[in-house]
Symmetry: C2
Subunit: 438 residues, 2 copies
């Protein structure tokens, strides 16, 4: 366990919340959410604009707090990648502020009429999008997630309870204080944004069991966090999932497109959830496709783990650089510069492989056949199914949803990018003139 953040003039508001219990913080957030749910979008937008301005105005203070975290990280032996994720710079803060302004400018999801009709008895029924209430976001090192999550939750009319990692505690405290003060300056309750201090399991369990106060938990972290939550949570959780994604190159694929899509899906950013992990190739095109595609992938530094048929069809020239795929490889989300490769007999076998081994995230077929495209999009059980495009497009921004807080591979409520709408629920409002049921 770590000590709590020492009081500093700049984040007095946060200090007040860090001494409160998790239950008290959540109860205050619930109260704040009642107000947030009723204010017009203008007030929420103003809070975000104020937040962006405050981030810029108070860059020095934020950098100072961040330096304390990075110094502690260096002393504590954090590796270079984690230190990089932890570190804020003036440019990064400016970019965070710009993101907040971008979220502020998105269309308001709250109050949107999803559907509606006049019933035979004259009742006017509307299904309206409304905020969930209190959203808790649990995340790891990156302090930018503090602001990003606060902005998305406030924009969608929700109060947010943040629980970052202890390695970023000073950064998160000052960023939350900046956000909460901006919210107050826009006339909204301070408890619209709050931070749970302490990175321990106890706080996590406390937070995960505030059913009735917290309406949704979004974990943005690794598998350990997810396992803990699935064991303890009584609050609904949407898991921002990693992905075991596939690209299938059908016999009728355009070779150029197939190489480009396979390459882009793997190489453009190998460590993210929508990157491809396995390449499936129809046997009828493998002898043409594999020598070209695997050469390019190898030259991009990708380790290739190929089944026996694929190694043969790739040709002798590539043999020295191809490893052998194992059964385990089909089930592994490498999130790294590794690609498994398998030759299949048919689109049906590709579909069967994807549905057996995939995580239901993003799956692509490259094909010139409308019949194969239809079979693949009908039968593949995944959040996002692509025809002749890279799996890397699974992203709230790319989809025109404005922004996202993660990607879901669940089937209930949110599937695919979790954007502003997915941070909302709905209610039926039914207006009558004295109707009673016969």
């Amino acid at each position: 366990m770590r000590g709590t953040a020492r009081p500093r003039a700049g984040y007095a508001l946060v200090i007040a919340t860090t001494t409160a219990s998790v239950a008290d913080i959540c109860a205050a957030a619930k109260d704040a959410s009642r107000t947030l749910g009723r204010v017009d979008s203008g007030a929420r937008e103003a809070a975000l604009e104020a937040m962006a301005a405050a981030l810029e105005d108070r860059t020095g203070e934020i950098l100072e707090a961040n330096a304390r975290d990075t110094e502690a990280g260096v002393e504590g032996g954090l590796d270079a990648a984690l230190l990089d994720r932890l570190e804020l710079t003036p440019a990064r803060i400016a970019s965070i502020a710009a993101d907040v302004r971008r979220v502020a400018a998105l269309p308001d999801p709250v109050g949107e009429v999803i559907e509606g009709r006049r019933l035979a008895n004259g009742l006017e029924l509307r299904k309206l999008r409304v905020p969930l209430g209190v959203v808790a976001v649990i995340y790891e090192a990156r302090p930018n997630v503090t602001v990003d999550s606060a902005a998305l939750c406030l924009k969608s009319g929700n109060a947010v309870v943040l629980r970052g990692s202890s390695s970023a505690e000073h950064s998160n405290a000052v960023l939350t204080a900046v956000a909460a003060e901006a919210v107050v300056s826009a006339g909204l309750p301070a408890a619209s944004v709050s931070l749970v201090a302490g990175g321990g399991r106890e706080e996590l369990r406390d937070l995960a069991t505030q059913a009735g106060l917290v309406d949704l938990i979004i974990p943005r972290g690794g598998e350990g966090l997810k396992t803990t939550l699935s064991r303890y949570a009584t609050v609904p959780v949407i898991y921002a999932a990693s992905g075991n994604c596939h690209v299938f190159v059908d016999v009728s694929a355009d070779l150029g497109d197939a190489v480009a899509i396979a390459y882009n899906s793997k190489v453009q950013r190998p460590g993210v959830c929508n990157a491809a992990e396995t390449l499936l190739v129809h046997e009828g095109i493998a002898a043409d496709f594999l020598p070209v595609a695997l050469r390019e992938l190898h030259e991009a530094g990708i380790e290739l783990r190929v089944d026996a048929r694929g190694r043969t069809l790739a040709g002798a020239a590539l043999a020295p650089v191809l490893g052998a795929a194992t059964e385990d490889d089909w089930d592994t989300e490498f999130l790294a510069r590794i690609l498994a490769v398998r030759v299949v007999d048919s689109v049906e076998q590709a579909i069967e492989h994807v549905n057996r081994h995939g995580s239901g995230h993003s799956e692509a077929i490259v094909t010139g056949s409308t019949e194969s495209a239809r079979a693949f999009t009908d039968a593949v059980d995944a959040a996002c199914v692509y025809v002749n495009a890279s799996t890397r497009f699974t992203d709230g921004g790319q989809f025109g949803m404005g922004a996202e807080i993660g990607n879901s591979t669940q089937k209930l409520h949110a599937r695919g990018p979790i954007g502003l709408r997915e941070l909302c629920t709905f209610k039926y409002v039914v207006e009558g003139s004295g109707q009673v049921r016969a």
Copy 2:
């Protein structure tokens, strides 16, 4: 534990499944769901039509099986209400068959384009409604739920795993057999409909932990079932909730409408989830409203539990028939001929009461004021909020959703009536022409 159903020629199909483990049944259902998810709506409709016809053709056999259950129920000392729920008659079977035909005729939710657009890079994005996969329905005595659940799940393209109570085991076995044979006659897999034998806790736990095979559990039973599920389930559950619903009579209400709506919300069917449990009355109208409304409610046999101010304002004539409300009454779902009554100072106090004590199901305001109506619909945190109409309208059929499998007070995925659309998820299908991410 009970014995398993004895083999009978008429339900050979079911016997095959009752000897299988819960995991095997769910795996077979998952396989069947892959087929169901790809067939056109015509095949699913044909299966439902065949099911309705088979229910009629095999009425004798169904009645025979049902007689065994009711005889066992009489011997086992089931009370009259439960026996009535258990009993099938030719008229009830005809009504069940008619319900199946009604579901068959509903618009197909599968494949509906929820939204879609062409992205700047030329990608064609569609968000399509698709079946969840395997839906498990857990229910108590009433055997009509077997057919009803099967019809709704098949119509929405899902395989269904049914788990009824042991008191209806023979009825459920023959009804499931009839359904499964009808499904087969329409060319769909038998495992589209299956029954888990045994009403024990063990089967319940087995079913609740088939994550990856079962996509959703819908419990249609009492609080004990829900508590068990919330403890063990790793599969997502949508709780078909009971409701603590309110009618608030504002100062500006039309007196005739207010009396009619309060009466209808409580009296029309007191034992159901959308019946009112507490009546809130603005103090400015209470002296006019309460003497009339409470008289009518009393004459309808409703036990009235009224706060002190309400008892005074109701007048001396009613005093002998009014009980005193306690704090506990505000939190109680009577589901009976009992109504709690409280006088409040304002619409804000009514909102505060509803949000504190309500279960988020159905809440009504009776008012002549657009301002009060707006305040109530904005601030009340519930699935269905009514202005000048009875709470009793919360129902999939009434809402024009065709049919429902229950009502949800959850905020994620399904809120309010759980109809065919709520038994679906969606997927994004994105069609390109070689697009890769820059």
